[in-house]
Symmetry: C2
Subunit: 157 residues, 2 copies
Amino acid sequence: MYNKDVKRLKINYKTLEEFKKFKEYGIQELSMLEDLQANISENEIESPFFGIYLGDSLVARMSLYKRGKKYDQYFEPSQEYLEIWKLETLKDYQQQGYGRALIEFAKSFNLPIKTSPRVKSSEFWNKMGFTPVKYDMDRDLGENPLVWQPAGVSQKA
Amino acid sequence: MYNKDVKRLKINYKTLEEFKKFKEYGIQELSMLEDLQANISENEIESPFFGIYLGDSLVARMSLYKRGKKYDQYFEPSQEYLEIWKLETLKDYQQQGYGRALIEFAKSFNLPIKTSPRVKSSEFWNKMGFTPVKYDMDRDLGENPLVWQPAGVSQKA
């Protein structure tokens, strides 16, 4: 059994190089790289990324981002909540509990969580206790939002 | 040379069955199916979907949705704009100009356009004249937004 410690990721050249192994590498990462190049000093940039290392290598990551009550369009009563995006385990390490460890870490804050996975993964999210929202075109557009809420919180009707 | 007429899609059981062939089938389509089942009458539900038929078959589609000025976080000055999502050509019909025809249709409204493609397709969007936004975490979260704007419109700084 591997140790699955979830760590907040420091944004430095090594981390950004490891991010390139993940499919959901996008303009957020490119923007971090530019910020780093403009500043020189390492380990300074705050990021919403958390991950799990196996030895020296990052094998799973997610972005876990706290959104203020004013952005909440999903929960009743309206409140602070977390958004997960870019949850991904590298191919060779899938089905070994890394994704679950990241989700359990996110749930430990005891805030409602919203995600909108980019790939077909409904079986996984279902096992994690996430359920689809009732679709609302102006709010959800082309997304497929899934939510999880702690006791005492409901989805907006 | 095929005729590439872009049509607004009527939401009926036939269309929803054809939607299942597209990878980006999600809760929006499931919600349309439920609405249809609850109402019985066909062709009644308004949708933001447009597509191209080859004979009797839908081979390409997109959702083209007008968003009000109050939602505009991308353009200068703030204004009505279009969002494209779920742009997709069925595998056997790719590289034949269907995607381009849909984009040209969208541009013909002469409004700025935002999209956030779910798959790696930057070469296509680049050819279509779309450019990445400057990443802003609170606005863009895990998205990779691309925009196109007609003459006289800029991106927000």
